[in-house]
Symmetry: C2
Subunit: 550 residues, 2 copies
């Protein structure tokens, strides 16, 4: 059996090595357009910043090492031009020699990934994407050659864009980041992103949201908001689109997202052509519909599983949750599943929970506050998504919630998870358990909450906002119109409350819950402000920016 | 309704505060024998070591703060002497005044915890357990008063014992730790504990295993192995036993473990008496049988849920997995579920997997090697337990596996978990995914392994051990009798292999797997040494110590 694999990085190389372990006799040929195989894409930004100083540590394998260990025929610098699905052949160009040849296959695996979507066209300012080792070499050369007060524009505030910003700042470059949407990290909701944007600004980054690049001419960038920048160079991180040229040449079916359509065994519309990685549609775990989820983990996993399928094993992909994480200086932001914005857009009923717990027991030094958001389906108590922003322990909690989602654990049942507790690592009631308690209170009606973006409407409808924090906290920053009545005095000062509807709030939501319970049991029409003053302030600030930009 | 709670720390106070949130009208009385309520038990060792310098940060609440916020009637320094279940009363002694009085209840919650099991009797050397704030004050005074070359003996190598050792070393004390069993941390298996013992020895700790304290006399401790120590003081951390005196006074049923027997709503054999925390039996998630699982998380959770039950809510406890973690200097050890030793003792069929992955992508600075062990039920692919020892990321992976167990995710399905990946946090194939791949290979027969403790028997039965590492690795340390044949040369040097059974091995098991696949497909009778040289060396060293001690 002869297997040809197009693309020699994450998905392609996982397929190739697994295939060899399953089948010593197969002929396995890997064509890679670039000069490198099996390199560490996700490490590329950190080589720019000098965090990974040794360029060779990004190059995990060579054609020689892969031949020795796995008897793979890996040919770098080979560009597969087209596929003849009927004849089961590919046409390959070797640009270095100018040769073109035809190679036959029994099974073909496309692992060509996605291409950077260029938001900036041909430009008089040096402009590079950040997808390959060559990109990194080029950006590194620009950084080295930059002037006395070097500056750069990063276009795109997604995960790669933020990593690019951090690493350019590390090299002493003044960076402006331009984001099309109203906030950075569009997979997260606006009130969650505030700490990330603050972190960047604290490092001197000029964060511009709700802007696009209009034109680049005469060494100047004109932004859609009228701003003019003169960066030494531009990093275009405005996203990726599936690479489908080859698939189209074979007449393969594309899906509704524009990615290559595959079944749960990564088989395309041609029975002898498989496809994996960023060029391929996945199945969204929440909607069951096609989605583009461009994660290295899925590319590797599907590469491996396609080898199993070709070797005759029963192997099916699980739907994708889209778990993702990024670290920007000292702040970590992570998500899994759907955001509130996605749920609203899809018209899916949902319940929102915000908390601000400590990363570990507060009595042990070094605990950091994180902000968590959980999205729950009211009818089923199913977890629809989560977002966490903070420092220590964000990665752990997003993984715990991702596994809970994979295991069908309900939001309320998060309370019962037995997570490892010592004071360095968590709390006797872990932040994830606490989310479960809040979810259970909402499910059973023991708590009723209002969201930060619903507060103004509630006030307009006559609700009184009662701040149950201390007088000192209230004085340090308060919601307009709120009256201050500390929770510990509430039972004795009921006479000061109005008869109409009440919204109680504290700093993060916990004292507010106690206050709401005190009042609800006495017959008051009371709700607690979810996430407290902290979530409200972050949300209002993000909205103000969005309105100002509009 | 009047609820009396005996014990004002984790379980008792969780019950009291939750009860108030559910019922503003209930009368809630908490009797606590000691002077403090709601203190941070798990932080106590770190106050001894000065990590938590401020003693007051361990005292999370006071009777006054609890009265203000929750209208609780908290009475410290009150010793509940007995229960009259028929009359629904408790008899209470207030030692400070000498008063004894009777208090009635509608519902009673026992949250009296466990008592330290004294391995050292009345002693001529100052001896303290480490359970209460008073213990910590006493040990702190001993440390302050110690001589020029202070020394201490810690009896018991469990979680609390190790935390005590670390914190005494921090204070400049020379510490000997005496452990009854053949290795420290008996919830883990011997080959996993080696790094923990090495870490302690590296900090100058005298680690003595398979010993008990025979006698303490004339300022000297005589150990069962003949050793004589003259410590300035002794910390007795030899474990706990459920506190059941009160329960017995009420005629409550005890379970087979000696703890108070309760149903899944924490109701004792008396319909108006509930019990939670370390004094109470839990249901083991794997056996369905009664077990003592003395974890702060469970005490808090069950305290809260018993309040729900009393308030008329449907609430049942989940069985306990016994997730636990400890940090000792720079090494972290964690476990969930059953150990191999427990499975062997219970005669339960099981499969064992050892891996030694990096905590995050190796190309990104700071990755640390961890050792993982997964125990799997062959018939069902269910996860029976896991152990992880390392540094960074141990807590995350044990939590991920604990949640997978709670969600009924099989061992093979760990491969499909979508865990958050950026190079600071993991790998595109996370260590937990890798465990799943190994489990799947074992399940499908794509891999066959032998355990470190089975190797000698295999060799005696005629198997040849083939070390497929490089010549340099082989020279640096090898299994006796192993021949060296690097995996990359294996296909070309098959003629050098004997006809009989073969055990291949590498450093951690991965190259060994590739080698085993190469040979198995050519018809060789081959197995791979699970966990490679690293697991074998740790296991053999632990066995040697055990044999030497026996």
């Amino acid at each position: 059996m002869k297997i040809v694999i197009v693309g020699g990085v994450a998905g392609g190389m996982s397929a190739a090595t697994r295939l060899r372990r399953l089948d010593e006799t197969a002929q396995i040929v890997v064509f890679e357009r670039g000069p490198y195989v099996s390199y560490a894409n996700c490490g590329l930004p950190y080589h720019v910043g000098g965090v990974i100083p040794d360029r060779s540590s990004l190059l995990l394998q060579t054609p020689q090492s892969l031949a020795a260990r796995f008897r793979l025929d890996v040919r770098t610098g080979h560009d597969v031009l087209s596929i003849d699905a009927a004849r089961r052949t590919v046409t390959v160009l070797h640009p270095a020699s100018g040769d073109t040849f035809v190679e036959g296959y029994d099974e073909l695996i496309l692992a060509v990934g996605a291409s950077a979507r260029a938001a900036v066209g041909h430009s008089s300012i040096p402009t590079h994407t950040l997808r390959t080792v060559e990109d990194v070499d080029a950006i590194g050369a620009l950084v080295d050659a930059a002037a006395d007060h070097p500056s750069a524009l990063v276009v795109g505030g997604g995960f790669i864009g933020l990593e690019a910003v951090e690493n350019l700042v590390r090299r002493g470059i003044h960076v402006t980041i331009a984001q099309r949407g109203p906030h950075l990290l569009s997979p997260l909701d606006p009130e969650m992103v505030a700490p990330v944007e603050a972190q960047l600004r604290g490092h001197g980054v000029d964060v511009r949201t709700s802007v696009t690049v209009d034109t680049v001419a005469d060494g100047a960038v004109l932004l859609s908001d009228g701003g003019v920048l003169r960066p030494d160079f531009i990093v275009d991180a405005s996203g990726v689109v599936p690479s489908v040229d080859l698939a189209c040449s074979a007449g393969l079916r594309l899906g509704p997202t524009g990615g290559i359509a595959v079944d749960e065994r990564n088989r395309t519309s041609d029975g002898h052509i498989f496809a994996v990685g960023d060029g391929v549609e996945k199945v969204d775990a929440l909607s069951g519909e096609a989605a583009l989820v461009t994660m290295a983990g899925l590319a590797n996993r599907h590469g491996r599983s396609v080898a199993d399928v070709i070797a005759g094993r029963e192997e099916r992909n699980a739907p994708a949750l889209g778990t993702a994480i990024v670290k920007v200086f000292d702040v970590v932001a992570a998500k899994v599943g759907w955001s509130e914005r996605q749920l609203v857009a899809a018209g899916r009923d949902h319940r929102v929970i915000h908390t601000h717990p400590a990363s570990h027991a507060t009595y042990y030094p070094g605990a950091q506050t994180m902000s968590m958001k959980l999205l729950v389906e009211p009818a089923t108590d199913a977890i629809l998504g989560a977002q966490i922003v903070g420092g220590e322990g964000v990665d752990k909690r997003i993984d715990v919630i991702a596994v809970a989602m994979a295991g069908g654990i309900t939001a309320s049942a998060l309370a019962r998870l037995e997570l490892a507790y010592a004071p360095q690592f968590g709390s006797a009631k872990d932040p994830v358990n606490q989310l479960g308690y809040v979810a259970d209170n909402l499910r059973t009606g023991a708590a009723r909450t209002v969201q930060w973006h619903e507060l103004a409407t509630a006030q307009e409808a006559g609700a009184t906002v009662v701040d149950v924090r201390t007088a000192a906290e209230h004085a340090a920053g308060a919601i307009p119109g709120a009256v201050n009545l500390p929770v510990d005095e509430l039972r004795d000062r009921l006479g000061e409350l109005p008869a109409g509807p009440i919204v109680v709030h504290c700093q993060v939501g916990q004292r507010g819950h106690t206050a709401a319970r005190i009042l609800a049991q006495r017959g008051y029409d009371v709700v607690n402000l979810d996430g407290g003053y902290r979530t409200w302030a972050a949300g209002v600030a993000s909205t103000a920016r969005e309105l100002a930009a509009a």
